[in-house]
Symmetry: C2
Subunit: 133 residues, 2 copies
DNA sequence: TATAAAATTGTAATGATTACAAATTTAGAA
DNA sequence: TTCTAAATTTGTAATCATTACAATTTTATA
């Protein structure tokens, strides 16, 4: 993934902060919170401000290269993988896993009165690691 | 629906506050927030406290007769209908509609490493009313 | 009626997010 | 290069939902 080109082609000027935040988000399997993003990047960008992280994520979302997860109340998480997938959260260890899914198989009854633009599927339960421990 | 019996059989003592909050939630199509619940009930129960609304909803959730929606960041909503269904939020008018759905048709790839306990499906888009206006 | 437990309440604390204005950086014109 | 305006970043203060917690009230029971 050419990050500079990805930002540029989505009308986002690739500043250092934006690049690092997007790279971090894209490479993170953990769907980090704002706080995690800030904490992990502030050593590389000592002047980084948490406000910038908020602003930047909002910019990403407005330009369609990032989406939010609200799988659990009280913690918004972010995701730079825009392909269709579901999210599984293990209620024991708290990890969030991506789950491949074929949304087209979803059978709605009476869905015709809505124009569905986005679909989010959230699963909760226990992951294999926690089940076998 | 016999509300007193519903609470009692779920190990919840049916105090006035609990009854009114559950009735309100069960009859509301709007999946209200804590604030809405409080505002709409405080005239009927003048001594009602917002803390009681929080405590009561937590009790309902712990006892499995209410669930939470987090379809949009920053607003937790509550639902007393525990049957399997998806939620559609119209991004224009903000209304949340229940959508009947057959979750069993969902085809996951590689889901075997998880024990899925709950599934939440959130749809966003535009409702028919907003589309035709 | 007396007492203990349960439920409700109000206030203060917490913590994430936003508003906003100041400071810094960047891009383009002269 | 230098200057200027626009864009970006930053820090502080404000907001708002939620939680902690202790006090009060209500309920159940001896």
């Amino acid at each position: 993934m050419d990050f500079i080109n990805h930002l540029t082609s989505n009308n986002i000027k690739p500043s250092l902060q934006r690049l690092r935040i997007f790279e971090y988000l894209y490479n993170s399997a953990e769907h980090p919170t704002v706080d995690t993003i800030y904490s992990d990047l502030v050593s590389a960008i000592p002047t980084l401000s948490k406000t910038t992280v908020y602003n930047t994520l909002k910019l990403f979302i407005d330009n369609g290269i990032t989406s939010t997860l609200t799988i659990e109340e009280n913690e918004v998480r972010y995701d730079a993988i825009m392909e269709e997938h579901a999210h599984f959260k293990c209620d024991t260890c708290g990890h969030i896993y991506d789950v491949e899914i074929d949304i087209s198989t979803l059978k709605f009854k009476k869905i015709k009165s809505f124009k569905v633009e986005t679909t989010n599927i959230y699963l909760n339960g226990k992951c294999n690691k926690c089940l076998t421990n």
